[in-house]
C-alpha cells in the first residue's frame, strides 16, 4: 500500500518537473463547429519560459485535411505566440480527432516534440440510415425503408422527396417528432440503374438543407445458374455485363 502511494505521488512530481521551455496554454482543443461550417480553427498559444530562444523545426499535421502553422519560426525568451491548426471539415461527421506534431530544437528530446490535439464534434443535421438502398437485377421490387432522424438543433418540420429517375419512386412518412421514414421502390428491376434521390427539408427557411439518398438496381451477377433451365449448358449462362 505504501509503495503504491509512493509511486503515485512520485509520478505527480515527475509530471510537475517535466516543464518544457516552451509552455503551452493547452495542448488539447475541443471545437464545436456549427452545422454547415466548412472549417474549425484551433489556436494553441505558447510562451517561451526558458532563457534561450526556441526554434521550430517542423509543425505538421497528422492528416491532409488539417493545415497547421506557427506564426513565427523563432521565439525569443519571454515571447508569446501561437500555432494555428485549421481543420477542413469536408464531409466528415461525428467526433473527429486530429493531431499536430510540433518539433523544436530543445536539447531535451522529450520536450522537443509536442503533440497538439484538435477534437471537433461535427454535427449533422440528419442521421440517415441507410444512405444507400439497392436491389439485385431480377429481385422482387419490394420497397425499402430509409429512416431519417433530425438532430436536436435542427428543427425541420417537413421533408419532401424528389426523384429524377423513371424507375424509382419515393414516399415520405412522418414517424414521430423529428423522425421520418422514406419508402423507396423501383418499378422494376430488370435493368441496372442508379440514381440519387434528393430529400429536401424546410429548415433553415432562407436556405433549406437537402441531402441525398442513393438507390440503384445492381447488374446481374455471374452465378452458376440454378436459374438456367438447361443444366447441360455452360453453367455460367449468357455473358453478363
Amino acid at each position: 500500500m505504501k509503495t503504491r502511494i509512493l509511486t503515485f505521488t512520485l509520478s505527480i512530481f515527475l509530471c510537475a518537473a517535466a516543464r518544457a521551455e516552451l509552455k503551452w496554454e493547452q495542448t488539447t482543443a475541443d471545437l464545436h463547429p456549427a452545422i454547415g461550417d466548412k472549417q474549425a480553427v484551433a489556436h494553441f498559444k505558447y510562451q517561451n519560459v526558458g532563457t534561450t530562444p526556441v526554434h521550430f523545426k517542423s509543425v505538421h499535421a497528422s492528416c491532409g485535411c488539417t493545415a497547421a502553422q506557427s506564426q513565427k519560426e523563432q521565439v525569443a525568451p519571454g515571447e508569446k505566440g501561437e500555432v494555428t491548426a485549421t481543420f477542413s471539415i469536408g464531409d466528415r461527421t461525428g467526433q473527429q480527432v486530429k493531431t499536430v506534431t510540433v518539433q523544436t530544437d530543445d536539447p531535451n528530446p522529450t520536450q522537443a516534440t509536442t503533440i497538439l490535439t484538435l477534437r471537433a464534434m461535427i454535427g449533422t443535421p440528419f442521421e440517415i440510415k441507410p444512405t444507400f438502398v439497392y436491389w439485385q437485377s431480377g429481385e422482387e421490387p419490394k420497397p425499402k425503408t430509409v429512416v431519417v432522424k433530425a438532430s436536436k438543433d435542427f428543427p425541420a418540420k417537413n421533408l419532401t422527396v424528389k426523384s429524377n429517375s423513371q424507375v424509382f419512386t419515393a414516399k415520405v412518412e412522418p414517424a414521430g417528432a423529428g423522425e421520418w421514414k422514406i419508402e423507396i421502390q423501383p418499378k422494376e428491376t430488370s435493368h441496372p440503374t442508379a440514381t440519387a434521390l434528393m430529400i429536401q427539408s424546410d429548415f433553415p427557411k432562407e436556405a433549406p438543407r437537402s441531402f441525398y439518398v442513393n438507390a440503384q438496381v445492381n447488374p446481374p451477377v455471374n452465378v452458376p445458374a440454378n436459374a438456367v433451365a438447361t443444366p447441360a449448358k455452360n453453367p455460367a449462362g449468357p455473358a453478363q455485363q
Partner: protein, 167 residues
C-alpha cells in the same frame, strides 16, 4: 511459507464478513483465477472477430496478395485526399475520401454490387483514413455481400505495400 500466512490471518469470528478464507493474497489469487474462466470463454466467442496480432480486426484487413487474388470481383477504393490520388493510385481504383464524400459516393456506388469486395486503402498502415472510409461504407451505406456479411476491407500495408508488390 504456511506459518507466515497463518500469522497474518485474522481470527475467524468476524462480525461482518459472511465468508472468510484466510489471507488476502489467497483471496486475490482465487479472484484472479475465477475471472479467467469467463474471460477465456469470451475470447473463444470473439476469436474470429479480433485481430490477435495486430491492431485492426482480422476480418477487416486484407493483404495485397489476397486482394489481388480477388481479381475482377473486387473494387478498389482510394481513401486519400485528391492530390495524392492524382499523383498516383492503384489501377482502376475509385477515389472516395471524406473531404468530398457526398460528391464521390454517388460516383462509386453504381460500380459496386454485392458480389464485389471493396478494398479500401490509404497511405501506410497507421493511417486511419482507410478505416474511417471503410466504416462509413459499412455503417451508412450498409454495403454487404450476398450473404449479408461484411464485404468492405482495409488493405494491410496500404498504398506503400501495393507499390512494393508492383515494382
Amino acid at each position: 511459507m504456511r506459518w507466515r500466512l497463518r500469522r497474518r490471518t485474522r481470527p475467524v469470528q468476524r462480525n461482518n464478513e459472511i465468508f472468510v478464507s484466510g489471507h488476502w493474497l489467497r483471496q486475490a489469487a482465487v479472484l484472479v483465477l475465477f475471472a479467467l474462466v469467463p474471460a477465456i470463454g469470451e475470447a473463444i466467442y470473439f476469436r474470429d472477430k479480433v485481430s490477435w496480432q495486430s491492431p485492426i480486426p482480422a476480418s477487416e484487413l486484407v493483404t495485397v496478395d489476397q486482394a489481388r487474388a480477388w481479381g475482377d470481383s473486387s473494387i478498389w477504393v482510394d481513401a486519400r485526399p485528391d492530390e495524392e490520388f492524382a499523383r498516383g493510385h492503384v489501377t482502376g481504383a475509385v477515389s472516395l475520401n471524406e473531404d468530398r464524400w457526398n460528391e464521390l459516393l454517388p460516383q462509386f456506388l453504381p460500380k459496386w454490387s454485392p458480389d464485389k469486395k471493396v478494398v479500401v486503402y490509404c497511405s501506410a498502415q497507421s493511417c486511419n483514413v482507410a478505416r474511417e472510409v471503410a466504416k462509413r461504407l459499412r455503417d451508412e451505406a450498409q454495403l454487404k455481400d450476398g450473404e449479408g456479411k461484411n464485404c468492405v476491407f482495409v488493405l494491410q500495408g496500404g498504398w506503400e505495400e501495393w507499390l512494393k508488390k508492383n515494382r
